[in-house]
Amino acid sequence: MNGSPSSGAAHAVQIRGYLAVFAALLVLTVVTVAVASLDLSESATVAVAVTIATFKAALVAMFFMHLKGEKPLVFWSLGLTGVLFAALFAFLLWTEGDRLVGTRFLDAFGNAPKTAPSEGVH
C-alpha cells in the first residue's frame, strides 16, 4: 500500500507532514477571507480566490489523498477528467464570449443586420 508508515520514526515524520499541511490550509483560509474583504477589482478578487482554492485543493490531494507518488493510471484518469472539466468551461466561453467581446452579427450577404441583437437576452 502506498505511503504506509514502516517504522516509528517514519510515522512521526509523516504525522508532522500532515500537521504542516493542516497549518498551511488554515493560513490560506484566513488569506482567502482577508483578500475578499479588500476592495480589489472583481476580476482580481476572482483570480486570487480561485488560485488560492486550487492551491489548497492541490495540498489536500497530494498529501491527504496520497496522490503524491501515486501510480500513473490514477493520473491518466484524472488527466482525462481535467480535460472534460475544462471542456465544460470552454463551452461557457463560446456561449458567453460573443457577448463579452461584442461580436458583430452579419446577415447572409456579409452586411450588418438592420437591427442589432438585443442586449441582455441570451
Binding site: 482567502t32 475578499a36 490531494a61 472534460l84
Partner: protein, 197 residues
Amino acid sequence: MDALPYTTTVRPDTGLTSPKLGIWLFLASEVMLFGSLFSAYVLLRSGAPVWPDQSATLSVPLATLNTVILISSSVTMVLAWAGAASGRLSRYRLFMGLTLLGGALFLVVKWIEYSDKFSHGLYPSTNNFLALYFTMTGLHAIHVIAGMVVNAYLIGPGARMWTKDHLRFTNRVEIAGIYWHFVDVVWIFLFPVLYLL
C-alpha cells in the same frame, strides 16, 4: 470466502489495488457532477444583469467556521488512517471519532445557516443565486452525510476486520479517507465561489 480479488495486493495490469482505482474513477465522475453545477453557476451569473451581494446574503463567519471544521476533520481522517496503518487501535478510534464529530458539527452549522435563510424568507425559488446556493451546498451536505455513514461503519461494526484482516481494513480506511478529503476539496471551492465572490 474472499470473493473480491486485489483488495490488498496490487493488480499487475493497473499497478493499483482495485479499491484504489475504483475510488479515483468514482471521484472523477464526482468532479464532473460538481463541475456541471459550477459551470451552471458561471453561466447564470455571467448572463445576469444584476446579481445579489453574496457576502451580504450569506454568513461569511459561519462559512469560515465550517471551512475550518471540514479541514480539521480531513486532518483527523488522515491521522485515523495513520493510526490504523501503524496498528494503534486507540489512536485510530480517537481520530475517526473526531472525524465523525467534525462532519456532525459541519452539518449543524449548515442547518443553522439554512434555518436563518428560511426564517428571512430566502428560498431556492427566491432567485438564481439562492437556487444555486441551496443546490450546490445541499448536494455537498448529502456527500458529507454519505461519508459519515461510511466512517461510522468503519468505527463500528466494520472495525471487526481490524484483527481479522488488518491490511484490508487499513485500505478501507484509506479509501474512505480519499472520499472524505474529496468532500473537503469541493467545499474549498464552494466557500469562496458562493460566499466571497
